[in-house]
């Protein structure tokens, strides 16, 4: 157990991957959580070539110790597969992954001591009560029974599960299961915490509780890797993030840096009384406007390097053209815009 003590109190571990590739030759298992693929697809038989699905296509990342890092991308982008590789659950086809100094594939036990994992879907032990789940998890990591009971109590309180602590988890709601999954991952106080889509299915209140707990855990010096397809979450929580799509990193940096890299910066979402190509042409001519794009219906997206001061000019142009300006929404440069810019698709698609 001395190695665990080392793990818990020694240097905080970071995460490193080098050119990770993962090619599935059959449907990825549920564990990989690659929501973009259908599962249960029939296996190839006979001489038919096996279908190859490239889940990771050369992911290289360096996540610093003590950082909250986010993988942002749509479903099926390769986020969960990356987490799977980093947590010993998915064998990489090529490339390397390290937690601290330990090669994830070659030193699995050492790595497992350092990490806590919250899977995309709750994978709680349905034969146990909430308290037992925490206690047995602690036991797997060699905690004494006194320590197990103490930590379980603290976590149950922190995650507001005390009143259901001694019930079987089978009857828990999705949100409760998710909270318990996170509590379990923290039970052995891991240096690196993986949260795969942690706020999916949580109500806004619980989501805020989760964010608070994640920040608090990070402040105690732990490294956190979080995946999400929710830009607000990435923006609110992460120091740095990587946007991934089709198994590749398409952008990497702090949320501010990434947002600043969007051409123009600000986005004005306008809605006019009617569609007028002539008006769009004129809008393009306004100072600071980088791009004007008609959207569905009467909407127009206007990318510009200034925001509020443009509104009056837009309104003037509209009234000169005899078109009513019905709605204006100004948004700061966002990660959604960045994703759109890189892929031509929305993150939500």
């Amino acid at each position: 157990m001395c190695r665990q003590a080392e793990g818990n109190f020694g240097m905080v571990a970071g995460i490193r991957t080098r050119d990770l590739r993962k090619v599935y030759t059959s449907a990825p298992p549920v564990a990989a959580g690659t929501g973009g693929f259908s599962f249960g697809a029939p296996k190839a038989k006979g001489k038919q070539p096996k279908p190859e699905i490239v889940a990771l296509d050369g992911i290289s990342l360096e996540i610093l110790p003590g950082e909250i890092f986010c993988l942002l991308g749509p479903n099926g982008a390769g986020k969960s597969t990356t987490v799977g590789v980093l947590t010993t659950r998915v064998r990489p086809t090529s490339g390397q992954a390290f937690i601290g100094e330990h090669d994830v594939w070659k030193e699995q036990v050492a790595v497992k001591r350092l990490i806590g994992v919250v899977a995309q879907r709750p994978n709680l032990d349905f034969s146990l009560t909430a308290r037992e789940i925490l206690a047995f998890h602690g036991a797997y990591f060699g905690l004494s029974s006194h320590e197990r009971a103490k930590r379980a109590e603290v976590l149950l309180q922190r995650f507001k599960l005390t009143d259901r602590a001694d019930q079987m988890v089978r009857g828990f709601s999705g949100g409760m299961m998710q909270r318990l999954s996170i509590a379990r991952a923290m039970m052995h106080d891991p240096q690196v915490l993986f949260l795969d889509e942690p706020s999916a299915g949580l109500d806004p209140q619980t989501r805020l509780l989760l964010w608070e707990i994640v920040r608090e855990y990070n402040q105690s010096g732990k490294t956190i890797l979080l995946t999400t397809h929710n830009m607000e979450e990435a923006d609110a929580l992460c120091k740095r993030l990587a946007i991934i799509d089709h198994g590749r990193v398409i952008a990497l940096g702090t949320p501010q840096e990434l947002k600043a890299s969007v051409p123009g910066g600000f986005l004005l979402r306008l809605r006019f009384g009617r569609h007028s190509p002539d008006l769009l042409q004129r809008l393009q001519g306004l100072a600071g406007v980088r791009e004007v794009r008609a959207t569905d219906g009467d909407g127009t997206d206007l990318y510009a390097d200034r925001s509020g001061s443009l509104v009056a000019e837009v309104a003037n142009l509209a009234s000169a053209a005899g078109v009513e300006l019905c709605d204006v929404h100004i948004s700061e440069p966002s990660l959604e815009n960045l994703f759109l810019h890189h892929t031509g698709r929305s993150l939500r698609e």
Partner: protein, 256 residues
């Protein structure tokens, strides 16, 4: 090897088994004991079966109970835990090589099969008596055979549990477990197949034959049975084979 994690997982399985004890009891013993009652008591009492059948039946029933328990205890949770809920994930992430988790399952299954085996002897004896002629001249040999039988049930459970989908559980019992029991020399001794030489040779691929004949050889040696050496070789061979297949498939299911 992380013994703390290993023992904690054994403790977890013991805890779950204790919680389901009554259900397990009915599931394990009800059917075999009804068989004992009807064939060993009613049919012998009414003269359709010879009196010696009581003694021949008991080791076979013990083999059925042990094998049923071991397979059930290992295969069913594995099938469920590897499915949609991925309940096993938490234990796969414990700081221990994942093969040891499979071995822990085998140990837990072996212990449960041994418990079932030793519980069914007095129960069946009570139902059958008088006229059961149990005679265990070499208790150590008997213990070794019982252990090998229990191991066979648990390794069989591992191999089956890691090869089956949840949707195939019904098929597993009707296509694998049921034929294994009927052609496993459980309700009759292997020598009873003398008049069916082809069948007598064919059933030797069934590991349950060695289990029931081994228990016969050590519990009622006065009746004809397979040589003990053949029994031990057969059981050791099948245990090793099933463990190897089980471990390989366990790895296949654990890591993608």
């Amino acid at each position: 090897m992380n013994w703390k994690a290993f023992l904690a997982m054994l403790a977890r399985d013991a805890h779950v088994a204790r919680r389901n004890f009554v259900a397990l009891l009915f599931q394990t013993f009800l059917q075999p004991l009804m068989f004992v009652f009807i064939f060993g008591r009613v049919m012998v009492g009414s003269g359709y079966m010879p009196a010696s059948y009581k003694s021949l039946l008991l080791p076979g029933i013990m083999a059925i109970c042990m094998v049923g328990t071991g397979i059930w205890a290992v295969a069913m949770p594995l099938i469920a835990e590897f499915q949609f809920t991925r309940e096993i994930e938490d234990r796969l992430l414990a700081p221990m090589e994942i093969s040891w988790l499979a071995i822990e399952k085998v140990v837990a299954g072996t212990l449960q099969a041994l418990a079932a085996g030793f519980m069914v002897i007095p129960a069946a004896w009570l139902l059958l008596r008088p006229g059961v002629d149990l005679n265990v001249p070499h208790p150590i040999l008997f213990a070794v055979v019982a252990l090998l039988v229990a191991l066979f049930s648990a390794t069989g459970g591992l191999a089956l549990g890691c090869s089956m989908q949840q949707t195939h559980i019904g098929l597993m019992f009707s296509l694998i477990v049921a034929p294994m029991i009927f052609f496993g020399c459980t309700y009759y001794p292997w020598s009873a197949l003398d008049k069916f030489p082809m069948l007598q040779k064919a059933v030797l691929v069934n590991p349950l034959v060695y289990a029931s004949e081994g228990l016969r050889a050590t519990m009622i040696p006065q009746f004809p049975h397979l040589p003990l050496v053949a029994v031990v070789i057969g059981l050791v061979f099948f245990n090793a084979l099933l463990l190897a297949v089980g471990l390989r498939n366990f790895h296949g299911k654990s890591v993608s």
